[in-house]
Amino acid sequence: MMTSFAKYWNRRSTGGALLFATATIFVAAAVSREPTAAAAAERTLASDDDPASWGGPPTFRRLSEDQYKRSIAQIFGADIVVPGRFEPPVREDGLLAIGSARVIVTPAGLEQYAIRAHEISAQIVEGKRRNDDLKCAPAAPGTFDDACASQFLGKYGRLLFRRPLTRPELAAVMTLSRSAAKASGSFAKGVESGLASLLLSPSFVFRLETTEPDPLHKTAQRLDSYSLATRISFLLWDAPPDAELLNAASSGALRDPAGLQRQVDRLIASPHFEQGVRAFFSDMLAYDQFGGLSKDASLFPIFNPRLRDDAQEQSLRTIVDHLLVQQGDYRDLFTTKKTFLSRSLGALYGVKVDSRAFNGWMPYTFPADDPHSGLLTLAGFSMLDASHEGRSSPTIRGKTVRENLLCQPVPPPPANVNFDLVQNVNDPVLKTARARLTAHQDNPVCAGCHRMMDPVGLSLENFTPVGGYRTQENGVTIDASGTFEGKSYKNVTEFTHLLHDSPTVTSCVVQRAYEYGVGRKVATSEEGWLETANQGFAKDGYRFPALMRLIATSPEFERVSAARLAPPLKVASTK
C-alpha cells in the first residue's frame, strides 16, 4: 500500500517532460479503441494534427439543486418559488461535480421534478408575475396564437436547454401546447403545459454535452460551441450561460480566441463570479456536510445550527474576500490572519463582535500571537466531521486535508481491523488522541495509511470539535508537532506555513478546479497540461481568478475524447 501511495505522490513531482512523454504513449494505447481504425493508427505516431491532450468523454451531468434554482432565477426572475425536494448529490473521486456525471433520476426524484415543472410554469404563465413575453397572448378565450406561443417557448427553450431548440423539439412542444389549450379552453394553460414539458426535459435537468470535429486538429474532437459555453458558465458562475454567452456561441464569437477571452473576462468580472467561486470551494472542501451537521449539545453547549451556518459562511467569506476582493495569493489562505466574525462566532473565538456596521459580519484580524491563522484553524474546518458528534477525530481531519486539499486519496480501512485500543477515550494509560493513535500505528495493517492521516490531524488537535481552542486533553498537554513532506514542525502555525509552501497544495487546487469544470477525473493525457497550468498559476502569483481564466480559455477545457456528435443543429429559433 505504501508503494502505491509513494508512486502516486511522487508522480506529481516527476519532471514535466518525462511525464509528458510517458503520457503520450499511454494515450496512444487508450485511444486505439476509438471508432476509426485509420485515425487511431495515425495517432500511434505523433502527428502535427494531434492536440496536446485527448481529453475525456463528454459528460451528462444532472444539475445540482443550486444549479437548478439558479437557472430558474436567472432565466425567469429570483422571485419564482422552486418547490419540492431534490435528490441527494453523490460525491465521487472527491467532487460532487464528478458524481453529478454518474447519478440518475429515480422515479421519486422525477415525481418532484414534475411537481416543480408545473408549479414553476404556473407562476410564470398565470401567476402574479406573469411573463412580459406573454403580452401577445390572444384575448379571446378558446383561441390559440401560434406565433405568440412559438416565440415564447422558443426563447425560453433556448435559455433552458442552453442551446436553441431543434425543429422537432419546437414542433413537439407546440403540439402539446395546442392540444392542452384546446382541452382546457385556455391559451395560458396550453403554454403552461408546453413550458412544463421543457422544464421536465432531460435537456434541461441534465447538461448533455455534444461534440464536433476540431478543425484545428483533424484527429480530435471538441465540444460544440453551446456545450463549451455551458461548461464555461457553470465553471465560473455555477449557472447556465446567459443570453450574451449563448449569442457568442451561436455567432461563432466563442471560437475566436479573442472572443472567447472577452466572454470569460466578462463572466469573471461579473458579480455572479462570486457564487461560482463559492460553489467550487463548497464542493472541493465538501461543505455539503454542513447540511444537517450537529454536535452533542450537552458536551458543546455553544453549538447550534446558527453557529454551524456561521462557521461555513465564515470560511466562504474568508475565501471570497481573500481570493476575489483582495486578489490574494491562494497559498495565503492557509496562513491568513484575516477573517470575518458574526456574533455567535465572536463567542466561540472569545472576541467582542460589534457587527452592526458590517451587515452582521465584522472584518477581523487575529492577533499575531493567536493560534488562529488560515482556513484549517477556523471553526468551519474543525467542526466539519459528520461522523463524530462528540469529539474530534485526528484521523478524519487528516483524511480531509489529504483528500480535499492535497488530492491524495486515502484507501478505505481493511474490514477486519480490531479498533479496541484505538480510541477508548477513558483509557487510563493512553490519555490523548496521539497516544491512542500511536498505539494503533504499531499495527502494520493500519500503519501505512494512518501515518499519512494521523500526524496531519494531530497537528490540529488544539481545536475542539466545534472550533474552540484548547491546550490540553484529559489533563495532558496536547502535542501538535509532527513532520509534513519531510519537514518537521512544532505546532499548528508552523504546520500551516508548511502547507503554504507545499507545491502539492497548489497543484491540488489546479487539478480540482479542472476536474470540477470538466466533470470527470483528470485523464492521463492531461497530466502534461496540468503541469503547464501549475506553472501558469505560479506565474500569475497564485491568483485564483487567473487560474479560472486559464482553465476556461484553454483548448484542453473543450477537448473531448469520444465522439458524441450532435446531429447538425436544425435551429428552430435563434433568440
Binding site: 425536494r85 429515480t106 423539439e169 432531460p202 452533542d296 449539545a297 461522523s387 474490514a415 479496541d420
Partner: protein, 447 residues
C-alpha cells in the same frame, strides 16, 4: 364502472364541467373460502424492508433452537408477542465471491441484490443490481399511486438501501409534514369517500409527461454508451410517474382499513436514539395508513445508516464508533454501550409489526397480508463479519408464508432468503443472485 375511460373523463372535465362520480359504498365481501376480498378484489400483499445499522451480538440475538419451538434472546425479546408471525433466519452468509469486504456495504448489498458489490464502503456505494424492494415493486407496485415509499429516521434523505443498479439511492422521506402532503395532500383520492372527482390538472400533467417521453429516441442518439443507461432510467422514471398519474384518474377501489390520518405536527430530525425513534413512530404511522389506503404496496424504512450515527443524548460517541472502539466487557462478553442500541432495535421493529397487525383487513390483519424483512448489514459490526447476517421476516404474505420459525441456513448464501421472498410474493423467479451467491434453493420451510 366499465364505461369509464380516460378519454371520456378528460373531455368532460377539462371543458370545465367537473364530474363527480358516485362509487359503490364500501363493500367488503368474503368469498366462499373465507379469503378476504375487498370490493370483489383480493386483498393485496405488501412487502417492505426495515434496516438497522451495525448488526447484533449473535449469542444474544439468535434463539438456540431451530423450528417452531424456540425462545427469543435478549436482543430479540421485544418480538415475543409476535412470535407466531415472525421468521428468524440465521446461518445465512453474504459470500464475497472474490470481492473485498466493503465495510458496512457488502452485507446489505449481498442480501438485497444477491450480488457481492465491488464498489463502496462505510454505508454508501454502488449497487451491483436492483435491490429486492425494487424488484418486488416492479412486480406488485404498478397499480398503486406510489410504486414504493422510502423512509429514513435521522433526517438524511440519502440514507436509503433501496436502489437500482448504480450509485443513486431512491431518496428517503425524512419529514412527516412533507410525507403527509405527498400521501394525503390535495392529490389524495379517499377510497372510501363514496365519490370520485378526477383532477383535470392530472390529465394535463399526463400529457406533459407523454410529450417529454417522445423525445427519448432523439436524445438517446446524442449520449455516449456509458450515459445511455442513465438517460434511459430518466425515461423509465417518466413512465412510472405517468402510471402513477393514471392511477389517480381511476376511481380508487374501496379500502376497508383505510382511515385518513390527521396531519402530523412538524418534527425536527435528530440522531439521538430518542429523536430517531420518535421520528420512526410518526413516519411509520403515515406509512401504515399509506399501505392500508392502497397508496403503495412496497416500502423501505431505514432506522439508521449502516454506519449508524445514532447516539445517546450527552454521549460523545455514536453507535458506529462504539462498535469499533468500545472494549468488549470481559465478564459480559459484549460491548455494553453499543449494545444499548442493538438490543433496542428489535423493539422499534416490533412497534411497526404491532401497528401493521392492528389494522384489520378481511379475516386477518395488514401484517398477515405483508412480508416485512428486518435486516442489518453485518453480524458483528466491530469486525464487519458477514456470516449469519441477521434477517427477520414478519408477516405471512396472505397465507403464502409459514411464519413462527427459526430457520438454519447452514452457511448458505443470503440470496436464498431473497429468492424465497420473491417467490412468496408471486414472482416467477427460479434462481437468483450472481456468482457464488447464485441460488435456486428455496427456503422450503417457509413456503
Amino acid at each position: 364502472m366499465t364505461s369509464w375511460t380516460r378519454r371520456s373523463i378528460l373531455q368532460g372535465v377539462l371543458r370545465g364541467s367537473a364530474i363527480t362520480v358516485a362509487l359503490p359504498l364500501l363493500d367488503c365481501l368474503l368469498d366462499i373460502n373465507g379469503e378476504a376480498m375487498a370490493a370483489g378484489r383480493p386483498i393485496p400483499t405488501r412487502f417492505g424492508t426495515w434496516f438497522w445499522g451495525c448488526g447484533i451480538n449473535q449469542r444474544r440475538f439468535f434463539p438456540d433452537k431451530f423450528g417452531t419451538d424456540f425462545e427469543f434472546k435478549a436482543e430479540t425479546m421485544p418480538l415475543t408477542p409476535h412470535k407466531d408471525k415472525v421468521t428468524i433466519f440465521s446461518g445465512f452468509n453474504a459470500i464475497l465471491d472474490g470481492q473485498p469486504n466493503l465495510t458496512h456495504w457488502s452485507g446489505v448489498m449481498s442480501m438485497l441484490t444477491g450480488t457481492a458489490p465491488s464498489q463502496g464502503g462505510n454505508g454508501i456505494g454502488r449497487a451491483p443490481a436492483s435491490t429486492l424492494d425494487c424488484l418486488i415493486a416492479d412486480h406488485i407496485g404498478t397499480d398503486t399511486r406510489f410504486k414504493s415509499l422510502q423512509i429514513a429516521c435521522t433526517g438524511q434523505s440519502s440514507v436509503s438501501y433501496s436502489m437500482r443498479a448504480g450509485n443513486t439511492v431512491n431518496p428517503s422521506e425524512i419529514d412527516p409534514v412533507s410525507l403527509y402532503t405527498r400521501l394525503f395532500g390535495p392529490q389524495f383520492q379517499d377510497p372510501n369517500s363514496g365519490k370520485f372527482t378526477p383532477d383535470p390538472n392530472v390529465m394535463l400533467q399526463q400529457s406533459v409527461l407523454s410529450s417529454v417521453k417522445e423525445s427519448r429516441d432523439q436524445l438517446m442518439r446524442k449520449v455516449g454508451a456509458a450515459d445511455k443507461a442513465r438517460l434511459d432510467q430518466y425515461f423509465t422514471s417518466v413512465r412510472e410517474i405517468e402510471q402513477q398519474l393514471a392511477v389517480q384518474l381511476q376511481p380508487p377501489a374501496p379500502a376497508e382499513a383505510c382511515v385518513v390520518p390527521k396531519a402530523p405536527k412538524a418534527l425536527e430530525p435528530g440522531t439521538t436514539w430518542e429523536d430517531a425513534t420518535k421520528m420512526h413512530d410518526v413516519l411509520t404511522d403515515l406509512l401504515v395508513m399509506a399501505l392500508a389506503c392502497n397508496q403503495t404496496r412496497v416500502f423501505h424504512v431505514a432506522l439508521s445508516s449502516a454506519v449508524s450515527n445514532l447516539r445517546r443524548a450527552g454521549q460523545s460517541v455514536a453507535l458506529h464508533e462504539l462498535t469499533h472502539e468500545e472494549p468488549i466487557d470481559a465478564k459480559l462478553g459484549y460491548q455494553v454501550e453499543a449494545t444499548y442500541f442493538l438490543e433496542r432495535s428489535m423493539g422499534v421493529y416490533a412497534t411497526l409489526i404491532k401497528k401493521l397487525d392492528s389494522v384489520k383487513e378481511g379475516n386477518g390483519t395488514l401484517l398477515d397480508h405483508s412480508l416485512v424483512m428486518a435486516m442489518s448489514e453485518s453480524n458483528l459490526a466491530k469486525l464487519h463479519t458477514l456470516e449469519s447476517i441477521p434477517m427477520i421476516v414478519a408477516g405471512s404474505a396472505g397465507g403464502k408464508w409459514r411464519a413462527g420459525q427459526h430457520i438454519n441456513g447452514k452457511g448458505d448464501t443470503v440470496a436464498r432468503v431473497g429468492l424465497t421472498i420473491q417467490q412468496a410474493m408471486g414472482m416467477p423467479v427460479a434462481s437468483w443472485g450472481t456468482g457464488a451467491n447464485t441460488t435456486d434453493k428455496t427456503v422450503t420451510e417457509v413456503v
